[in-house]
């Protein structure tokens, strides 16, 4: 009769401990720590959040509360190429939804999904600060603007490796 066991590999455990330590294990630095941690792992699975909570001495619910609140944080691994479609006001009125639909049918996944081969993941976000280029999407941080649905196929072809 013992408590729950959280499985994690040693390298990951060390990395998270080091990231937390670099912020002096301060609970007030939670968001910054999660940014760094997600940067490293690509996502924030349960066991990672458990270690963060342990390092900061806060309930894991606090960590999960933050992770589930901000759409930037994800608990699912992203694809090798993470696509984000902006659905902010400017992009939306300029037809962003059609771009999203084109991506969905091309990749055969829905928002928040990852293609079976793990190559592409598809997310939506609100405004990347490039409203002048609306509608906009980004792939691993690279911005594509003034999109029409017909562009989708050729852009994806750039990532054909």
């Amino acid at each position: 009769m013992c408590g729950p066991q959280i499985k994690i590999n040693e390298a990951s455990y060390r990395t998270i401990k080091d990231i937390c330590a670099s912020f002096d294990n301060k609970p007030g630095e939670l968001i910054n720590i999660l940014h760094k941690t997600q940067e490293h792992f690509g996502y924030l699975p349960e066991e990672v959040q458990q270690v963060v909570a342990d390092c900061l001495g806060i309930p894991v619910g606090r960590v999960y509360g933050v992770v589930s609140f901000y759409s930037f944080f994800t608990m699912k691994p992203k694809g090798k190429y993470a696509i984000s479609v902006c659905l902010g006001t400017a992009c939306y009125v300029k037809g962003a939804e059609k771009i999203l639909d084109a991506l969905k049918s091309e990749l055969k996944i829905s928002e928040g999904g990852v293609t079976e081969d793990g190559k592409f993941s598809l997310d939506v976000l609100r405004c990347v600060g490039a409203c002048g280029l609306a509608p906009v999407m980004t792939i691993n941080g690279k911005t594509y603007g003034r999109l029409v649905p017909e562009h989708v196929k050729e852009i994806l072809a750039e990532y054909a490796d």
Partner: protein
């Protein structure tokens, strides 16, 4: 005092600077409705997020409406609590809340006690004009608590008690926008989290989102079963609170009526947890004396302070958060479990039934007691020592189901041999009570002299952490501490870890003011005067008892003679003591 004058609903009022509009209105007899706001005055329990906006009022000259619960009064402010604009906004807020709230009030466990329901009634809601998405969460059952997140209105009172008051943090807000809800991390069932089942979330929840597991149907079925005998025990704090459910004033002592009601419901044997509270003092007191004597004679291996172990939420807390310190709390079982262990051995033998033919029910002011009955270590051959634990509220329901006119019921006595008790036992229901009861016995045993006074006023009170020095002539000056609220208990545990704890003996209870405000008690909806009335009543019940020291209880003396032998002897060690587990989350680190 620095005061300011303002006008509320055309009447002038003077209040200390810093007073909220809500409080100022309250002192004028104006009751502005609230939902998320919760405050238990003087008991360190509050939730003031200013989030639900039910309390909005109009402040003349201010562009938007002001939430009264968090807006401070300003000099010459003109407030209108019932302007058309405020009333409209308030109604809209409530209608929007109700548009995503199940309307199954007839079957809801909070029906009649629900603050959302009362508000809808008070505001005369007859239709909900908004139609939209409905939350669809599964209902989660745990050993103690039922969670129906569809009824959550995100007031976050539960989150405040769980995080701030108990320092547990099992539930909190997750997600954003429409799907935002109070939940566990990763949607895990409560049993897999660090929840200690104190149930204070249930006690403060304004709706049916959180309620206790209801065992009344099982109890009625067993009472009707001719193949089993049923016995029941009633915890101390129940007798100063149950009356509230039947319109009696808070603090009414209804011990005799409870005994009568339980007999009328049909229990074969009606006993008293106060009896086993006296037994707990014999066992825990003997352990305290033994450990103290060893410690004072220089034995460094003995763990000091001794901590009480009657509160099941506190036990869960140290198993989950401080398992490395689990040798500090007394090994004595709680009164509920001591009762069960004796009932299913000594008493079952006495009436000639086997343990599986004796159903043992407890009535507790507590929700965590339900979890305690299900612990594997409290089962013998698969049958638990205590079969079901009911809350005070469930007992009220049983009494109503059985058509008993409780308020006018003639009083009755508890049955023998597990029914006699002392004043020391009844104060188990209040913070400081277990400490005082233990001192009444331990000091007499240590000094060999009759106490000149038995009221240990120095350990009474309602502050969250209290400490006292109790001189024991010829032995030592005992440093004792009494805490309630697990955040305060955490403070003591951190002191022990740091080696700075100066106490010899510490009492811990999880709930505000102790069991009198346990999570199984009638809902007080934030009215601290109710808790204070129960507090006073417990000490009155103590004064009313002819015997006020546990070691003088004739039925306790008898059972040691007849059955148990010596306190902390072989038989009592086996039946009345337990051990604790390491339930802390661990990382299984793979190379």
């Amino acid at each position: 005092m620095d005061t300011i004058k303002l006008t509320i609903d055309n009447r002038e009022v003077e209040v200390p600077r810093g007073t909220t509009i809500l409080k100022a209105a309250e002192q004028m007899g104006i009751k502005i409705p609230t939902l998320c706001h919760f405050e238990l005055d003087g008991l360190a329990l509050e939730n003031r997020p200013g989030g639900c906006r039910i309390c909005v009022v109009e402040v003349v000259g201010r562009r938007n409406l002001a939430p009264a619960c968090i807006t401070e009064c300003m000099p010459d402010m003109v407030v209108k609590t019932n302007s058309f604009r405020a009333l409209n906004a308030r109604r809209t807020v409530l209608e929007l809340m109700l548009s995503d709230h199940p309307n199954d009030c007839l079957q809801c466990p909070k029906s009649g006690k629900c603050e959302l329901q009362s508000l809808a009634a008070d505001m005369g809601i007859r239709e909900i004009p908004f139609k939209g998405q409905q939350s669809q969460y599964p209902i989660e059952l745990s050993p103690s608590i039922v969670r129906d997140s569809n009824k959550c209105i995100m007031c976050r009172r539960c989150e405040s008690v769980c995080h701030e008051y108990q320092s547990v943090g099992a539930i909190g807000a997750v997600d954003r926008g429409f799907p935002a809800v109070v939940n566990t991390a990763f949607d895990e069932p409560l049993v897999n989290t660090n929840c200690v089942f104190c149930g204070q979330c249930v006690a403060v929840c304004p709706t049916g989102a959180l309620s206790e597991v209801d065992n009344t149907a099982k109890v009625l079925r067993d009472i009707a079963n001719p193949d089993v005998k049923t016995c029941v025990q009633v915890a101390p704090a129940v007798r100063v609170a149950l009356g509230e459910e039947f319109g009696l004033p808070a603090g009414s002592i209804v011990t005799g009526k409870i005994a009568a009601a339980l007999k009328a419901i049909g229990f074969d044997y009606v006993f008293d947890t106060d009896w086993s509270a006296d037994l707990t003092i014999m066992e825990e007191g003997t352990e305290v004396i033994g450990r103290l004597k060893a410690f004072l004679s220089g034995d460094k291996s003995v763990k000091i302070p001794v901590m009480t172990s009657c509160c099941p939420a506190w036990v869960n807390f140290y198993e989950k958060f401080y398992p490395e310190l689990r040798e500090y709390p007394s090994t004595a079982k709680s009164p509920q479990q001591m009762f069960g262990a004796v009932a299913k051995t000594y008493f079952a033998d006495k009436i000639g039934v086997t343990r599986d033919k004796l159903v043992c029910v407890s009535v507790m002011p507590c929700v965590a007691k339900k979890y305690e009955t299900e612990r594997e270590e409290f089962k013998v051959d698969g049958t638990p020592d205590v079969d079901y634990s009911l809350t005070t509220r469930e007992l009220a329901r049983l009494i109503k189901i059985c058509n008993i006119d409780f308020a006018n019921l003639p009083e009755a006595e508890f049955d023998s041999p597990l029914g006699a008790s002392t004043g020391a036992a009844v104060i188990f229901g209040v913070t400081g009570g277990v400490m005082e009861a233990a001192l009444r016995t331990a000091v007499e045993v240590l000094t060999g002299k009759t106490l000149p006074r038995i009221d240990f006023e120095e350990v009474r009170g309602l502050e969250g952490i209290r400490e006292a020095v109790v001189p024991v002539p010829g032995v030592a000056d005992l440093n004792v501490a009494v805490v309630y609220g697990l955040k305060n208990a955490r403070t003591i545990m951190e002191q022990i870890k740091a080696g700075t704890c100066k106490y010899h003996f510490v009492e811990v209870m999880a709930c505000p003011g102790g069991c009198i405000d346990g999570a199984g008690q009638p809902y007080h909806h934030g009215d601290a005067s109710i808790v204070k009335a129960r507090h006073k009543a417990i000490y009155e019940a103590d004064r009313n008892m002819p015997i006020r020291k546990s070691h003088e209880n004739p039925e306790i003396i008898a059972i040691y003679k007849e059955f148990l032998g010596q306190p902390c002897g072989e038989k009592s060690h086996h039946l009345l003591h337990t051990h604790y587990f390491d339930k802390k989350i661990k990382f299984d680190i793979e190379k």
